[in-house]
Symmetry: C2
Subunit: 161 residues, 2 copies
């Protein structure tokens, strides 16, 4: 098992992980009708440092790390994580989140913020809490869930200092 | 007095309003060393719908309106407001904020969110509260104020429905 920077050659393995998540539109506040090229363009946008979680030569998850704001807010990082549907429940997301915190500290970030954790994504909320993130804000009905309608999202935050 | 969409011809009047605010780095989490062209590029980025507040032929303030997130978060809007140093305390920001809410409703937005209101910007915090925004989150030490060091920022939110 290894978590390593993603490169151009990883895109064919990353696409089938991110495409179903983005198309479902249940957890990310990102357009749900992107083409495959646009999906990869989003995940690999210049501001994103992208990593993959690999086990036995297979990519099981991917995450990005970026500065959440610019200028005098640039000491707070932000990440997004996605795990292959076939690798749920095996600790891939937790491992990537721990890795991202280490990498964020390396890059000099002092905190990590998730801007929009959909409240119905209870597994993610519980995992981030277990890993030391607090719910520091609740955005009322800020997400239009395709099944549940308008639901709250959380702002989650962890100091890295 | 009028609030109207900003055009190319307004850029020379907008620059002296936004440049000191961005350079000071006390209220916006945006790079503080932008060139004039980059400042205008930021304010007029494609996602921003930009307006000016004009009185007696003079531009006294400007704001932008945008979707705060994409996809299933795109019903929440976001704005940034700036007032000329010479026109502070005359209700320009309040008028622009009211205008932006009307415009946001016109465009179908259901709420408005400010992601990063620096806690030391007490005048802005009080004004947004007076205009119906709630502090729904506190981001601990998320802003590195050039005078006060690390200070909290607030997430502020108002339903428009």
């Amino acid at each position: 098992m290894a978590i390593r920077p993603a490169g151009e050659l990883d895109k064919p393995a990353i696409l089938p992980i991110i495409a179903p998540v983005l198309s479902a539109g249940e957890t990310y506040a990102v357009e749900t009708d992107l083409t495959e090229a646009e999906m990869l363009g989003y995940w690999f946008m210049p501001a994103h440092e992208v990593f993959v979680f690999e086990a036995e030569g297979e990519v099981l998850g991917t995450y990005y790390l970026m500065a959440n704001q610019g200028g005098n807010g640039a000491h707070v990082s932000n990440c997004g994580y996605m795990v292959s549907a076939t690798a749920q429940g095996r600790g891939v997301a937790a491992a990537m989140c721990e890795h991202s915190q280490t990498r964020a500290r390396e890059r000099g970030f002092r905190a990590m913020q998730f801007n929009h954790v959909v409240s119905t994504n209870t597994r993610a909320v519980a995992l981030w809490q277990k890993l030391g993130f607090d719910i520091v804000g609740t955005l009322p009905k800020a997400f239009r869930h395709p099944l549940h309608g308008f639901v709250d999202s959380y702002v989650m935050f962890k100091s890295l200092t």
